[in-house]
Each structure stands twice: as C-alpha cells, then as structure tokens.
C-alpha cells in the first residue's frame, strides 16, 4: 500500500517517509531500553530521559495466533461487523530493539511459523476501509526479499 494518501489510525504510532512505514518507539538515554509505542519514561530503569526512535522495519515472528471470532465492539471498530474475516496477530522481534505486537497480513495458520522473516507494512484499519484509514501490520517476506538480506 502506498502510504502517501492515507490517514493513520492515530497520530504518533507510525510514520511514512518516502513510501516506507516506520514504527515510532522510544529509547531510554540511560539504559538503552526500547519500548513501543513511544512512552515518556523507561519501563526498566524508570528514567525520564527518553527520546523517540524509529524502529527497524524487518524482524522475525516470535509468536502468533489467528483471531477466529469477531471481537466485541467496542472496543473493536469495524465498518461492517457482519463481514468479519479471521486475521493473524503476532509478536515480531525486531533485532536488538523490542518485540512488537501487530496484526499480520497472513491469516492461514499453515503459512505462519515462529522464526519466519517479517516486514512492516500498512493495511486498511477495520474501521477505515472505506475512507483510507490505515494501521500497521507485518507481512511474511518473500524468498526474493530474504535473499537480499
């Protein structure tokens, strides 16, 4: 998805530059701990000397599941609750940074495995398909992309 003409689900979660989406985390100046989303203090050492950090776009799948039933609304927000399709959810480990929870573009359990390479992307938010609202997700990388690494 091209990120130039879309509305993020919320401000401050991710940014799009040159068509590439990056998650906005934070890093502690004292102990180096990385957190996502960005937060004003360090969850490890309690320091408030924390600044923003754009996180890596690629990582590996640390764990996953498939959400097979429609979540209740609220808090879930879907344009058409009757049109629910199961979706993947996982934690992606960004090397040296943090494990990020995200929707996955893949919902077939046979095509997900712990350790597989993943890359950040944008997908329509369940509530915003009609009007261009997007959220972040991770997608399995293709074999060609993996060869580039």
């Amino acid at each position: 998805m091209n990120g130039d003409s879309v509305t993020p689900i919320t401000e401050g979660l991710f940014t799009v530059a040159d068509g590439l989406v990056r998650l906005i985390g934070s890093q502690c100046a004292r102990c180096g701990t990385v957190a996502f989303p960005r937060q004003a203090s360090c969850p490890k050492c309690t320091s408030v000397e924390v600044s923003g950090r754009l996180l890596a776009r690629r990582g590996t799948l640390w764990s996953w599941t498939i959400q097979c039933f429609p979540p209740k609304s609220p808090p879930y927000a879907a344009d058409d609750p009757g049109a629910f399709e199961p979706y993947g959810v996982g934690y992606v480990e960004l090397p040296g940074e943090v494990r990020v929870e995200a929707r996955l573009t893949e919902a077939d359990p046979g095509r997900l495995r712990i350790g597989m390479p993943m890359e950040l992307t944008l997908v329509p938010a369940p509530s915003g398909e009609a009007h261009g609202v997007v959220t972040y997700a991770f997608r399995p990388m293709t074999e060609e992309e993996q060869d580039e690494r």
Binding site: S63, I66, Q67, F69, P74, P75, E101, T135
Partner: protein
C-alpha cells in the same frame, strides 16, 4: 498453633454458572451468609471485610443486606486477582492484630462472550482496541504457542488438560460445566485462537465465594476444623515478563508475576512446592494451567507433558490440580475465581470435598491466580 497464625474457619459459595434475575451482589450476600454459617460466626462479629467484583458492583454495598454494623469494608478491583488481593489484605490485617475476624468475598456477573475491556482503562490508545488487539484470548494463545515451541508441549496435552477439568467439574455440584468431554471432542471444537479451541477456554460467567478468616482465640476454638493460611503473596509484573495487553515486550526476559508471587508465598510459608499435596492454578484456558504449573514451581518447564499424560495431576494422582474443575468447568466470574480456588482447598484439606475428594488426607494446598495486566496472587494453606 502460634499467636501469629491466621486461618480460614468458614467457606461459602454461590454456585458458578448463569443465574438470570439474580444480581452479583445477591450472590455475594448468599456466599457470605454461607461462609458465616459454616464458621459459626455472626455478621456483627466481623471486624474487617474486603472484597470485590470486576463488573457487578461494589462489594461493600452488601452491608445493606448483611446488616449495617459499621464494619471497615474495603472494595477491591484487581482484575482476575481481585479475590487474591482481598485475601492478602485480610491476612495482613489479621497478622497485624488490627482485626480478629475477617470476611472476604468475591463475586461477578458477566454477559456471554469474550471480555471487551476499554483500552483507555489499561493505559492504551483506542487504536489498540479498534484494530482488534485488545483480547485476552489472543495473549494466552500467543503465550502458549511460544511456550509449546520452546518446551515441547503438544496440542494433545492442551486437550487433556481441558478433559480433566470437565471430568472434575462433573463431580462438583457447584460447577457450571458438568458434562465430561473427551480430548477428541475438545480438539474438534471450534478454533478460537490457534492453537486453542472453544472447549480449551473458560467462559465469563457468574458466581460468588466468601471466606471467614480468624486469628488468636477465634482460631483456637472454631466451629469447624481450621485451615491455616500459611502465606499469601501478591505481585505485579516486572520488566521483561510477557503480559496481557502489551503492544510490545522486551527482548530481555524477566520472571512473570506468577513466578515471583509463588516464590514469595512459598518462602513466607516455609513450605516448598515439593510439599504441596493439592494445587489450584489459574486455567482460564488449558495452556495457562500448563504454563502456570511450571511458573509456580510445582514442576519444571517442559515436564508438564509427562506429568499430565501420566495422570499425576488427576484427583488420584501425585499432584491433583484444579480438583473442582477450575475456571474451565466453573467459568470465570472475575471477582470470584481466586476465592473459589481457596474454597476448594479448604474443603479438600478438611476432607469434605465429596465425590472429588483427593485420597490420602492432603495436608498442604496451594492456590494461584493471574490477571490483566500482569498481576498474580498465590497462597499456601495447610491443616
């Protein structure tokens, strides 16, 4: 018995399940009256009370029905650890000599279906819920998925845990799900969150539990055989633990609140996990029982597969676990579950658990609850 000892001298329960037309508070009052009657104590004698629900109102409102005695009564709302938190407070008040007879009560009444918490109540942006990440079921699925890959636990074992729960529930007149299910039926039920199927999950439900605690003279001359509350420990999460409702988790791993609370409870009791004769561990889904068995120290990580398939955790086994059917067969009224576990241990240690009584006169019991966003309470009891 020493002057510092705190014991449970009364236990009462309002059956878990669905009770149309009965409010959560009415269930709480019924459970409190049952506990008082069991203890042979009248409500005006209670000089401290604590309790709570997640979704069925303020526990202290029950004084309108129990009687306006002026008793100090603290409302507790601490997720799935509400009951354990109330127990922690009552235990501390008695140990401090600030009260002699305490009542703790937990109750709840939830509509059918998964919980739908408001992200902002949990310090998260609305986006987290809107995009479909605010589900406890996802967390448990991802935690066990990772755990299975690290410790060699099979899906068949997850089904065995649930089958045991329903077998035990069938023997418990206060349980909600009383029909035994085979492992095959559990595996074949609808997929909810891989690898967990419908019958591997408990359902939000209704029910109430109350306990009467005593110290000093009231403990030395009880109407019923007392069960000593040797210790209770409550902890929140530490850095590096993997907890529910976490948009990110640290690369560095730290002990879970369950591991820390369990270790603290065992240390304070001067009793080790190897001494435990009967355990109730939080089993909001079958993977949770597997993981919590090791996190509490009751077995080694990876040992569960053998333990469960060998029958060691059955009522007649070496370490009977969730003998009343656990959350899986009783459902999850959030405020009531933690005290239900203690109620079950009290019955078992008294030898009053009926058809599900553990043989061999169990002497030491252990309870564990875990709740969002990473809180655990553990208790060690003995007779």
């Amino acid at each position: 018995m020493s002057a510092e000892d705190v014991g449970i001298i009364g236990a009462g329960i309002y059956p878990f399940g669905r009770h149309p037309g009965v409010t959560g508070l009415q269930m709480a009052v019924a459970a409190a009256r049952a506990a008082l009657a069991d203890a042979g104590v009248s409500w005006p004698e209670i000089d401290f009370a604590a309790g709570g629900s997640d979704a069925a109102g303020n526990a202290d409102t029950s004084v309108a029905m129990l009687g306006l005695t002026g008793v100090p009564f603290v409302n507790v709302r601490n997720g799935c650890a509400t009951g354990g938190s109330a127990l922690t407070m009552a235990h501390a008040m008695l140990r401090a000599g600030s009260a002699d007879l305490a009542l703790v009560v937990g109750f709840d009444k939830h509509p059918p279906g998964a919980f739908n918490p408001d992200p902002e109540d949990w310090g998260l942006g609305a986006w987290y819920g809107e995009t479909g990440l605010m589900l406890t079921t996802q967390f448990f699925a991802m935690k066990i998925q990772r755990y299975m890959s690290e410790h060699g636990i099979s899906t068949a074992t997850l089904a065995e845990v649930a089958a045991k729960a329903f077998r035990n529930g069938a023997l418990n007149p206060n349980a909600w799900r009383r029909r035994p299910l085979t492992a095959q039926e559990i595996l074949a039920s609808k997929m909810v969150n891989h690898p967990l199927t419908q019958f591997m999950f408990c359902s939000p439900g209704e029910g109430a539990t109350a306990l009467v605690l005593a110290r000093g003279a009231r403990l030395r001359a009880p109407a019923r055989p007392p069960v000593l509350l040797r210790s209770v420990a409550l902890r929140t999460r530490s850095f590096g633990s993997f907890e529910v409702f976490s948009p990110s988790i640290a690369l560095e791993s730290g002990p879970s609140p369950t591991a820390v609370a369990a270790a603290a409870a065992f240390e304070a009791a001067g009793i080790g996990p190897a001494d435990v004769d009967i355990a109730q561990v939080q089993d909001t889904e079958s993977g949770a029982e597997v993981m919590h068995l090791a996190e509490t120290g009751l077995c080694q990580h990876g040992e569960q597969e053998k333990l469960i398939t060998s029958g060691a955790t059955e009522i007649g086994g070496r370490l009977p676990v969730n003998t009343d059917g656990g959350c899986l067969a009783n459902g999850e009224p959030i405020g009531a579950s933690g005290l239900r576990q203690v109620h079950e241990v009290v019955l078992q240690l008294r030898g009053e658990a009926g058809e599900r009584q553990v043989p061999g006169r169990p002497r030491v019991g252990f309870t564990h609850v875990y709740g969002a966003p990473g809180v655990s309470a553990c208790a060690v009891l003995s007779r």
